[in-house]
Assembly symmetry: D3
């Protein structure tokens, strides 16, 4: 059996850790998580666009876990690789060279999503 | 003759100040400005979507001048008020309550853009 | 009649601008504002402590409007001037000299709160 | 002999690395470290409150090492788990969903502190 | 008598507000201010270089007051306008387009310093 | 054969990952990388000074990969260990105690650069 890749390990850890956060049993935190989920629901903007917004926000704020999560959501909601990369370019120009290490991380994640057949090369 | 509003004064100052930056006559800075402009050109993503991305990046990084600039570009490239507000909601949830003063600023700017007939209420 | 001071003008503008944000009529934004208010309610920690936490978070994230708001709440919930300044010192050491301009702003706000009789000198 | 957990490894590495920083032998850096320690000493505010302030500052600035350090100090200075989680909720609402990965990290650290008998469940 | 320009007003306000901070009479804050001053003293690096470092740090952290202060110190410690602008270009590329409004501000401040005869055009 | 140290592994991974970014084949991203490289070329300021500026910007923005990269460039362009540490002290005072974990990281990287004979102890 082949070893799990970085993205598979991330998904597992993220899910397990979210359970630990829920176990803290704080009403405010639970409501925030609920609201966070609702934010990306279909609204005036389609979910696909909102996931691109979440990705760019995550990239300029430089959070790899958030980037990985939104990259997968972008792919699953129909954004092509070319579209996602074009969004990352906006993050790079707004956020500057300090974003580059996160762009490297994102490039690897995109490769993993592509190998899993989740990402449309566009 | 009526006094200029905040947005009109901002446009004038921004333009005058950009000239001062160009007058610094630094090749690297000039090339950055050129690249910044190119970033929002039609590409894998349409300009309209990229302007929404620029707006959300500006909001989570909390820069009122950048927010005003991208709000106007969003309106001019066809995003409705409802779509822009939905994008700002993503910025609010990602960036937290520290974004609220910038959301207040944005609400006022949207009002000004609407009164100028630039913004489609959607 | 004497002119309004900076803090009085801030309170008026903040209230007027919050109304504009509510008028944007976005359910997610309204729920966020509601949750934000609830966060500082009496819980495992008393409101007084939470307002000090909100103040320090605002100071290290360098938002003058947020600092002014929490300074007033700190004073109203019973923190003395000496306690508030001790909290600001934590923000200064964590956030560094880039926080100093906001410390200057806070010192002036504390002076205004004191002149209004809201702040207990401690 | 059982393997060391993440928190034990962090304490060891932090201590070893602080020694390396001291070995850089820069007077300014040494004085900063000294001042940093003094900041959390009993003052107008008790150490217990200041550690909660340090925790929230660390969370909104999104530094896991700082979060782990202050979580342990909060536990050792008498804050209960419920109080610490209530403080983290303030950080979450001020800092937004970008804080969530650090909240996950904190939830795990709290579990480790609890298993070591350092943390009072409250 | 001609009106004071933005830079003159800034110097006056900064000085008056620093006095207010000292009047808060907190030992930790006073020691931080003292340490801050010492940081830019001649050391392994000359003051001139350290002021350029302080300028770039201020620019990427996006604080206009800090930028104005360090611009003046850079000019006074012998950096030419061309050298200062080259340093600002590093800040622009590291920090991205979100730095641009601060670059505009800096361009105007440089103009004022030049008109006062403090800045060597290089 | 001895195992590779952290710095050697970083160099390899950084190079491999930069290739992945180039393979994304986005003109804007490619031009940004090109411009980033040009920024540190000899100009009004010498490369040696610009690398110190890049280091301090990286430290206050708290990016370990960027810190490691600039530490090596600083060493290679002739800054001594004492000069680099003096620059890091500026970053510490401007950025505050939240920079300390990155200072720890930098201290270890300096040790590795010294053991490789790249760094002049000064």
């Amino acid at each position: 059996m082949s070893e799990k890749n970085r993205l598979e390990l991330f998904r597992e850890k993220r899910s397990k850790m979210n359970d630990k956060v829920m176990d803290l049993d704080h009403l405010g935190i639970k409501r925030f998580f609920n609201m966070d989920t609702n934010t990306y629901r279909e609204g005036a903007l389609p979910t696909q666009t909102k996931e691109l917004l979440g990705l760019v926000a995550s990239a300029v704020l430089r959070c790899n876990d958030c980037i990985d999560y939104h990259l997968e959501q972008c792919a699953k909601t129909g954004s092509t690789k070319a579209e996602i990369v074009d969004a990352l370019n906006v993050a790079l120009i707004v956020g500057g060279s300090i974003v580059i290490p996160h762009l490297r991380h994102a490039a690897e994640t995109l490769e993993l999503l592509e190998s899993e057949g989740i990402l449309n090369p566009g």
